[in-house]
């Protein structure tokens, strides 16, 4: 009996397998919802044209002594293998730029996470003047960097407002031309400017923290600080991962602020960033192959950091 049932079961399974072949094949090629492919095609094409294709070109030219030339001009751009990469890694200015950007991130990333979470938490509560504060924190983010930089130059210049207030306590040389202060000042500036965006991310994330958890914490007699650490912080963890990764990418791509605030990586290279250096090499000095190698190295470092952050932050 058992044998008969077993044979029947086998036949049934075989039939199921046969009938299942066709859908599985379809799923492999077009997915469960083929119409979805149609919807994402425009963005995929956009991504391929704007990001993937230039990235492939960049990868290719990073192995050549490449420079941009006039169409139709006969120029020699020999293949140099890994030479550009070797030169970039040994380049003291590039090493300095990496150090500078890590210094920036050490200040900017924790400050961004902490301040945006705390402020979002505050702005999520019922308080007077809520709309004003939400607008106030968001205003720097939507204001052009050039306009804000002018204000900061006025405030932190040698004869600016801050130094006037500080008097003899002001640093000499002044903030933005002081090799110890230039990068921290840029980090503070970027933190302040970007804060509105990250607050917005946290505000959205806070809506997803179940109220029951706060009620349970209330029942357990938790204080406001305890609720913040034990309920809010774990509750917005996915948003924190996103904020950290975005802040890191912003840091690695830092260009505008040192370009405008410290006049091209000054003082004495203290605020040169890898992207600024890439601009100097590729655009000003016409060494596109070298600049491409900087870009590829930067990409690998950024992806590496983001991967580590994701692994660490998303670990249960």
């Amino acid at each position: 009996m058992a044998t008969v049932r077993s044979a029947e079961t086998e036949r049934t399974t075989e039939r199921d397998r046969e009938s299942a072949v066709q859908p599985v094949e379809k799923e492999r090629w077009l997915g469960a919802q083929p119409i979805g492919l149609l919807f994402i095609t425009p963005y995929v094409l956009f991504l391929a044209a704007i990001f993937v294709y230039p990235l492939i070109v960049q990868f290719f030219i990073s192995f050549k002594d490449y420079f941009f030339a006039a169409p139709g001009a006969t120029v020699d751009r020999p293949w140099v293998g890994f030479q550009n990469y070797v030169d970039v890694i040994q380049d003291p200015t590039f090493q300095r730029s990496l150090f500078n950007v890590f210094e920036f991130m050490i200040i900017n990333v924790p400050a961004t996470v902490f301040l945006s979470l705390v402020l979002a938490y505050a702005l999520n509560s019922k308080m007077r003047g809520l709309s004003f504060f939400r607008g106030a924190y968001y205003a720097p983010y939507v204001t052009a960097s050039v306009a804000i930089v002018t204000v900061w130059l006025f405030m932190f210049g040698e004869t600016g407002l801050v130094n006037t207030v500080l008097g003899s306590l002001a640093p000499d040389p002044s903030w933005l031309i002081n090799r110890y202060w230039a990068m921290p000042m840029i980090a503070v500036f970027v933190t302040w400017k970007q804060l509105g965006f990250f607050i917005l991310l946290y505000l959205a994330a806070l809506q997803n923290v179940p109220k029951e958890r706060y009620e349970a914490a209330d029942v357990d007699g938790a204080s406001t600080v305890q609720k913040f650490w034990s309920v809010t912080v774990p509750g917005v963890r996915p948003a924190t991962t996103l904020v950290i990764i975005l802040a890191t990418i912003t840091g690695m791509n830092l260009f505008t602020e040192p370009y405008l605030l410290t006049n091209g990586g000054g003082p004495n290279g203290a605020s040169v960033t890898p992207v600024f250096y890439m601009y100097q090499k590729g655009v000003e000095q016409g060494q596109a192959g070298y600049a491409a190698a900087i870009g590829m190295i930067l990409l690998v470092i950024t992806l590496g950091i983001a991967l580590v952050q994701r692994r660490v932050l998303e670990r249960d």
Partner: protein
Amino acid sequence: MRRRLISVVAAAAGSVLLGGCISDGGGPPESANTSRGAIEVWLSTNPEEVAWGEEVVASWNSKHPSEKVTAQQIPAGKTSEEVIYASIVAGNAPCVVMNTAPSAVPQFQKAGGLVPLDNFPDGNSYVEGRTGTAVADQYKSPDGRFYQIPWKVNPVMIFYNKKLFAQAGLDPVNPPLKTWAEFLQTSRTLVQKKVAHAAIWPAPSSEFFQSWFDFYPLFGARTQQQLVEDGKATFDTPDGVAVGQFWRTMYAEKLAPQEKYNGDSFKDGEAAMAIVGPWAISVYKDAIEWGAVPIPTEDGKPANQVYTFSDEKSLAIYFACEHRLTAWDFVKFATAQDSDGRLLELTGQMPMRENLPGVYAGYFAKNPAYTQFADQAGRIVEVPNVPNSTEIWQTFRNAWTAAVVFDNEPIDKEFADAAARANELLAKG
């Protein structure tokens, strides 16, 4: 199998696209060198030069209706050189740019963006005849060919504010600015008397070209040498270091600020002196009662022996031009004696023409303020026309800001390191 096929097709398509992107296809036809027709020229954005350019273009068009010239200002960008380079790469550069910086010529030449003048039968002889062989030689490329037509100079001198000098008790007619010692003492007086925030305020920032307005005029005045000569850096010498020490004193005593001024410090009265060329006369004439003296030298050389940085701009014919004969004829038209005279009248800038004071004696008699600049135009030091020129200037500038502006490193060590790197770049070619 199908997936593999798709992968192969995608890879092939990618390779074709990639090859297409970075291949050197296109370009003007072979006949461009001997062709005539309508051309486009770019002018500087300076209002006086635009007025001059439009006048010259109108005059040309009235005489050459079948070879019409269209003029426009150089499109906006961080620097004109970046915009021009981008247009070279894009293949849409105009036929002539009437504001080509000599420091950018090596890069444009390397990119295949410039037409050598010996493509035209009278190319070399015209340049040498107009400018003089000795001066013109500074504008030859290392391959011995001209890729630029030296056009006009703005030899830099020390401008000073007579009113502020008088307030500080200094002689506003013959100010003590001849020797380095006098210059330093005058600067101290100006700052101590608080007539201005700074004695002089050259941009202390890191852009590669800023050295043309602090180090280079004094170095040229002292040595008559370019930054590199005969394949070697020249600034790693007692002369170069001495100029560095002079400016270090200026920064250390806060006679020159370490922070860049956002604006025109001289015009705003924040600095009592400035290092500028004759273009500034029309800018300052209504704002400041100014005077000008030659660049100071350590030993106080007579004015007629003092050299300075040229701040020259050239004309060049660009590779994308399809009617190069018209371009060449237009260049000669725009640099003819009459056109040069109008340039002088409208802009105050000195055409690169031999015996300038004699050729335009009438103009200088009417405008004595310009006479000393015309005289100075005969004693100029140009930026070197060498490969990797921009990187060499950037290397020097980095050393300058580290050692001279911020005193983070000894000057001789920084200059030696920068010279070693410059020599490497020169050897690399």
